[in-house]
């Protein structure tokens, strides 16, 4: 039996590190133009939905950093999103409503949790890694459930959105939309710079062949752990945003099904491409929204759809786009 970790499959050969910088630009420009179309009121449903899509895209991109580029299948990534959300909720309860302070704490705690759990998880390989990250995710989940002072099982409503330097700008849906867009764009750029750097090349090397990396003098563990911590920190930041959007936190953010959904977004879009998770998050949430409008039993359609995607659409949506356009990006 091989311990071969899932890798990007066919994408591996195509070197899609820079997959679709044009595509990324187009999508970001489209997202930036959306509120300007004016067809939607300031508080419109579409704006809220797209904001949610972008927040999940940030989380999915952070997961792609380790899943797509490091072949580390983290099945507990939702925990980081939950940590970010709880940082907002807990600090707000104690009167600290400044976004920067909340984001700072969220990033620090997520990174700390990632460093601690990553150091243990990365001792294992393959399916054990999947299981142990799942277990740590569940630990965070049960910890949140036990926080009776902060709503326990039922969750906690946050009175208002975070403030920026004392001002309540984020209450405005359009401003919040652009804040999320800015974080998304920054995440994409930072992750692209990261995977294109020497660090990123070493990380991809550990994905392809850890033994060879070790023999040429790179200890995979250090690079994988660093990537895991960065990924966790970014995902924590997405949690700050989701708590602000919904004004509500609950352990459900950390449920293992949520971690599964994040993996689905990454793979559906195309892992190891960075733009893939964005497309995947968009597709996942729009399909969910659309099917849920048709029937309350939408999961009976979505489940088989997911199986078909896994069986027949390798490389995800980005893979399909590259095939259709015949382009060889990068």
């Amino acid at each position: 039996m091989s311990d071969a970790l899932p890798t990007a499959g066919p994408l591996r050969d195509r070197r899609t590190i820079l997959a679709g910088p044009i595509l990324a630009g187009l999508i970001l420009a489209g997202l930036a133009a959306l509120p300007l179309l004016g067809a939607f009121g300031a508080d419109s449903y579409v704006l809220l939905l797209v904001t949610r899509v972008m927040i999940f895209a940030i989380a999915a991109i952070s997961l792609d950093l380790i899943l797509g580029y490091g072949a580390l299948v983290s099945f507990g990534h939702a925990a980081f999103m939950g940590i970010g959300a709880y940082a907002v909720g807990i600090l707000a309860t104690h009167g600290i409503e400044d976004l920067l302070a909340q984001a700072g704490v969220a990033i620090l705690v997520s990174a700390g949790f990632a460093a601690l759990t990553g150091a243990i998880s990365l001792r294992t390989k393959g399916v054990y890694f999947i299981m142990i990250t799942l277990a740590f995710g569940q630990m965070a989940f049960f910890l949140a459930v036990s926080l009776a002072a902060y709503g326990g099982d039922d969750g906690l409503t946050i009175a208002r959105r975070s403030t920026v330097l004392g001002a309540e700008w984020l209450g405005n849906a359009t401003i919040f939309y652009y804040l999320v867009l800015a974080v998304l764009a920054a995440t994409l750029l930072a992750c692209r710079a990261l995977v294109a750097s020497r660090f990123g090349r070493v990380l991809r090397g550990t994905r392809e062949n850890p033994v060879r990396m070790r023999s040429i003098g790179f200890e995979p563990f250090r690079y994988q752990l660093t990537a895991y911590v960065i990924s966790g920190a970014i995902c924590g930041l997405s949690g700050v945003l989701i708590a602000n959007q919904t004004n509500f936190i609950s352990p459900a953010y950390m449920a293992w099904q949520r971690s599964g959904e994040l993996i689905v977004m990454v793979v559906l879009g195309g892992m190891g491409t960075l733009i893939g998770p964005l497309i995947g998050a968009l597709a996942y949430l729009l399909i969910e929204e659309w099917l849920a409008g048709i029937t309350e039993h939408w999961k009976m359609i979505f489940g088989p759809l997911l199986i078909l995607v896994v069986l027949y659409a390798r490389g995800g949506l980005v893979g399909a786009i590259t095939r259709i356009t015949g382009g060889r990006h990068g």
Binding site: V73, F142, L147, F302, L311
Partner: protein
């Protein structure tokens, strides 16, 4: 002392239950290198089938007898439809596709049986409780669950260690391509192991149906516990699964019952109950992390 005995029995009961589900999972993983998230929903289906057939026949044992072949059939159908196309894929694909099955089946039971929990009456033959010792009465049905779980465990270990099929399963777990090269139809072996695992999970579900409320998603949390069990035990090892299942069952049950009072020795009452409630559900995950830290392949790693 009485409380300790009762909780130990409850822990044993959870343990054998976990073993019934984990045995199939660990065999499927060991022999086919296949990670099956949908094993938890097979447990749920077992409970639903038992509930349905019990209601139809008005007899729990008849219901159980009908639920088992039905669970087996469903397992084989899933294997034929989905799983066999995934054996050659990597773990990530397997995780995703079986996640899709969970989404589908959790919703499908809501569609078929409704979202409201079903309840199954404890069979009259096994109702009531008996006196185990001074001041300790324990429900007969729960004892029956423990007994049947241990019986199945013994049967399974005989099956795996003493029969030809068991020999092939062990050989398959050690080196599947070699077994295939020796002329064994590995596809049939996979299907057999898979169907058997699904039936064991279904059996576990049917057995607990009278003790819990049968509801959509009931398999999800159990699935995670089962993963903890097979990882602690060492993936592919039935013996490891048995020991780890009892360990996890006992640690979880006793932890929930005794963490707050034990902490009271060190902390004041409210802090103790607070920390205890937070700590207790996390204990098994801490146990798992500790085991994996020292033995990254579990307590009984299968040699490959």
């Amino acid at each position: 002392m009485t409380l300790l005995s009762v909780q130990t029995l409850n822990g044993l009961q959870l343990g054998v239950l976990l073993f019934l589900v984990a045995a199939g999972l660990t065999l499927v993983f060991g022999v086919m290198d296949f990670i099956n998230l949908a094993h938890g929903v097979q447990f749920m289906i077992g409970a639903y089938l038992a509930a349905m057939f019990t209601a139809l026949t008005d007899n729990f044992f008849l219901g159980l007898g009908l639920a088992l072949p039905a669970a087996l059939t469903l397992g084989l159908a899933l294997e034929w439809l989905v799983f066999r196309h995934l054996y050659a894929r990597d773990h990530l694909d397997q995780v995703l596709a079986t996640f899709g099955i969970i989404l589908f089946l959790n919703q499908a039971v809501k569609f078929v049986w409704g979202a409201a929990p079903l309840s199954v009456p404890v069979p009259a033959l096994l109702s009531g409780s008996i006196q185990l010792m001074e001041g300790l009465r324990y429900p007969i049905y729960r004892l029956a669950v423990i007994g049947s779980g241990i019986a199945v465990a013994l049967l399974l270990s005989l099956l795996v260690s003493r029969t030809r099929i068991g020999m092939l399963v062990r050989a398959g777990a050690a080196n599947a391509p070699m077994v295939s090269a020796l002329g064994v139809d590995i596809g049939r072996l996979f299907m057999l192991v898979f169907g058997f695992g699904a039936m064991l999970a279904g059996f576990a579900g049917a057995m607990v149906a009278p003790l819990v409320s049968v509801e959509p998603g009931m398999g999800d949390n159990l699935l995670i516990l089962t993963f903890v069990v097979i990882v602690i035990g060492g993936i592919g090892s039935v013996r490891g699964a048995f020991i780890a299942a009892l360990l996890v069952g006992l640690v979880d049950t006793l932890g929930r019952a005794f963490a707050p009072p034990l902490l009271r020795l060190f902390l004041d009452a409210s802090a103790a109950s607070q920390t205890g409630r937070a700590l207790a559900p996390m204990l098994i995950y801490i146990l798992m992390a500790t085991v994996l830290f020292f033995r990254p392949a579990g307590l009984f790693p299968v040699r490959r």
